[in-house]
Symmetry: C2
Subunit: 194 residues, 2 copies
């Protein structure tokens, strides 16, 4: 079922991605700080191509870095884009679904939440995120959908690090994941694609 | 010089905006949490219509809520979108331009920064933000451009609260600001447009 990678994104990573010690791939010059909007559109259309038959009613991502990808993706599907927010000042009055997530990068927990009125059992959700490594953020987004009894119609990832276990674990759990780029190693500060 | 308001956004605020005590306008269901990507595209094209002759080379906004507007705006201009990040873990090694901003909403200061390599004297910047009230965030974005010796080719705002002084102050300082919607009062929990 799963397609090959998205060639334009592979080429862009080859050209502009920078590998730092600790198997960190920085894509700050076209994805995570400065953003190429033409590439974002192409990525959105590529996700549409992959998931167009799945009855998607909403695109869900997490702030901050998922938003620039999820907005043109939702545009391709002609459905709303919902971004889960990091908690700052929730009160007990706020009616939200909430998930606790461990960040390996920051070595700390954070919460993501969505307003309950924006996600329901009537939704079939396409989850979008920029990176998939250990899958912690993705499990949080999945949990938000499950709390709302929403269907998950697919998971679209820009860059998957297949040498970390998140993608394998979630595929084994039955989720349909399409990663536009799969990276099997960042050792020796070199990007090796699958 | 300045155009009228953007009718589609006025109508959407009439339909879906919610006014809370304290003159707060919530647009969480199409702009700040759940996002209507078709409206974002229309807003981007509207900004393009206004600023297309200004030689824009980059669109600058602030995370989080500016990103969904700035991405299709940058697409319309066919230029990169750069979002200023809120500081979390800067080290003295990071080469950034940085601005300190007071948030009236949170009653606290926060910092915004951009990597120095992404903004330079060669740039003519269109600054985009969702709200203009006291203008604190906007002044921070302007400061980032000034630190980089970048030209400011225009400022595009989705929703301006003209009963607060930010827009007036910045226009008096000579900046070219176009606000798609101008709200002159949120008293009595009612939106009154200019």
């Amino acid at each position: 079922m799963e397609r090959k990678t998205m060639k334009a994104l592979v080429e862009r990573i080859k050209k502009d991605g920078i590998v730092f010690p600790g198997e960190i791939l920085k894509v700050d010059n076209f994805l995570n700080h400065m953003v190429d909007p033409m590439l974002m559109e192409a990525m959105g259309l590529d996700f549409y191509d992959q998931f167009q038959d799945n009855g998607i009613t909403k695109v869900l991502t997490a702030e901050v870095s998922g938003i620039a990808i999820a907005t043109p993706t939702a545009h391709a599907f002609k459905v709303p884009m919902l971004f889960a927010k990091k908690n700052q000042s929730l009160t007990s009055n706020d009616a939200v679904y909430e998930a606790r997530i461990y960040s390996y990068t920051k070595q700390d927990y954070f919460n993501l939440h969505v307003n309950k009125s924006f996600l329901s059992a009537d939704d079939t959700v396409l989850i979008i995120d920029d990176f998939l490594a250990n899958g912690e953020a993705l499990k949080g987004l999945i949990s938000l959908c499950e709390q709302a009894d929403a269907q998950i119609g697919g998971i679209g990832i820009a860059i998957e690090k297949t040498f970390q276990p998140g993608g394998r674990d979630l595929r084994e759990a039955g989720y349909s994941i399409y990663s536009q780029v799969k990276i099997k190693s960042l050792a020796n500060e070199t990007v090796t694609f699958e």
